[in-house]
């Protein structure tokens, strides 16, 4: 099993690497086109700001590479937001794998959302063995709207997509690598896809 993590300027890479190690997977952090396209699984993590991350991806031609990947891909947090069409953060045109728009949380809630929240209406094998209303760890100020690609929902002032899927592309807004046993289960499920 060859697992690669996309190397760019917005990675929470260590945490993801360590989480994979805990389930017996030794992953490679790389921006090498050949390595990424020939991996069995690709993880696209991210903590940071959307416009600078997109700019960096474009400068390395990683934007085109990611959208053309054929194997299972898992976007995490900012990685998921970058896989959507557009983000209000820095008015950024993103990769457009999912049609969703990314919006800033508004209203009488604290922003960023930091902490454990529930996920529900779970779909696909990514959530095999994970129970409805399981808690996952979230840290984010922007959210993806609901759409036909939604495979998990969460409520924080508004109901939004905490997970998306289209063809070989999977994504989670929360951090499976920091979400205790349930997060570990999700990573194991992804590796088995």
């Amino acid at each position: 099993m060859k697992v690669s993590i996309v190397k760019y300027n917005a990675g929470n890479v260590q945490s993801v690497l360590f989480a994979l190690e805990r389930i017996g997977i030794s992953a490679t952090v790389t921006d090498d086109k050949e390595v990424l396209t020939t991996s069995d699984k690709v993880i696209f993590p991210g903590v940071g700001e959307a416009s600078s991350a997109m700019q960096y991806l474009k400068s390395k031609n990683l934007d085109e590479l990611i959208v053309n990947l054929k194997q299972p891909v898992l976007g995490i947090c900012l990685g998921m937001q970058l896989m959507c069409k557009y983000s209000e953060e820095g008015n950024t045109n993103c990769l457009g794998i999912f049609e969703n728009h990314i919006k800033l949380f508004k209203g009488d809630i604290k922003v960023p959302q930091i902490g454990w929240n529930t996920i529900y209406d779970l779909k696909t094998n990514l959530y095999e063995g994970i129970k409805e209303n399981e808690y996952m760890y979230f840290v984010h100020s922007y959210y993806a709207e609901l759409s036909e690609y939604t495979i998990a929902k969460t409520n924080y002032g508004i109901e939004y997509s905490s997970s998306l899927q289209k063809n070989n592309f999977y994504a989670a807004q929360f951090h499976p690598e920091k979400s205790s046993d349930a997060g570990q289960q999700l990573l194991e499920n992804f590796i088995k896809l």
């Binding site: 700001e49 930091i114 902490g115 840290v139 920091k178 205790s180």
Partner: protein, 251 residues
């Protein structure tokens, strides 16, 4: 619903967990990594590691310890103590920390908060405030509670959030170590005044104290050290108790 968080804090000195009363009389309390694993298993929502010697002794990185912790636990953790530059933070985040906390250095150089938020995002910048009530107001203290400033805690909290702090860790020195409960008034005031989560710290002695700081103090998270270290309160019992009291909690 987002849950309230229970956060055990591990004060670190020379790579060991330690505990003092009112920041003094430091005693050994075990290996941080072992304790961290145990807390994660028991259901802690997050952990905080504070290198309490760092500011005074100018000791820089905890990066090796941070990496060991990150390898072994699957919940988020914050690292603080003596962090004074973008470079310090970069090292700790790259070692596997999820968030960092700044205290003294941010008061001395508020621009640091802005630089950190711009570089790494507000979500990983926790502003720690040590505060003490005297002369009829809450004031900010520095260097682990040794140095008084003229800054009012409320003003500093608001300024720091405007600069980009993503969370506030508020420790009341009047309450810390007393086991008489958290400082409800100032926690509530800060929590209502800023739009970022507030972690209450200092004074936990029993389970009711946690209930009170969530219900009356409007804290988003509660941090404690000795009651967890010395097993006076078990995390599973505490969380069950809070849930029974209609507080949203991850069980």
């Amino acid at each position: 619903m987002i849950t309230k968080r229970i956060i055990p804090c591990l004060d670190i000195k020379d790579g060991r967990t330690v505990k003092g009363i009112n920041f003094e009389n430091i005693k050994d309390a075990g290996d941080p990594v072992e304790l961290a694993i145990e807390y994660a298993k028991q259901g802690a929502d997050e952990l905080v590691f504070l290198d309490i010697t760092a500011t005074n002794e100018k000791r820089k990185t905890l990066s090796e310890l941070v990496t060991r912790i990150a390898k072994h636990i699957n919940i988020p953790f914050t690292v603080g103590g003596g962090i004074s530059s973008v470079e310090d933070v970069s090292i700790l985040l790259n070692s596997g920390a999820d968030k960092i906390s700044v205290n003294t250095s941010a008061v001395k150089n508020p621009q640091l908060i802005k630089d950190l938020a711009n570089q790494f995002g507000s979500q990983c910048v926790v502003l720690a405030i040590d505060t003490k009530f005297e002369d009829n107001d809450w004031f900010v203290y520095l260097n682990g509670g040794r140095v008084k400033t003229d800054f009012k805690t409320m003003d500093w909290a608001k300024q720091a959030v405007a600069l980009g702090a993503g969370e506030i860790l508020l420790t009341s020195m009047n309450n810390d170590g007393t086991k008489n409960g958290f400082a409800i008034d100032i926690t509530k005031q800060i929590s209502e005044a800023v739009n970022v989560p507030v972690i209450a710290s200092g004074g936990a002695g029993n389970m009711q104290h946690f209930k009170n700081i969530f219900k009356n103090g409007k804290a988003d998270a509660a941090l404690a050290a000795s009651v967890f270290h010395y097993k006076e309160i078990g995390i599973p019992e505490l969380k069950t108790y809070l849930k029974e009291n209609n507080i949203e909690i991850r069980l």
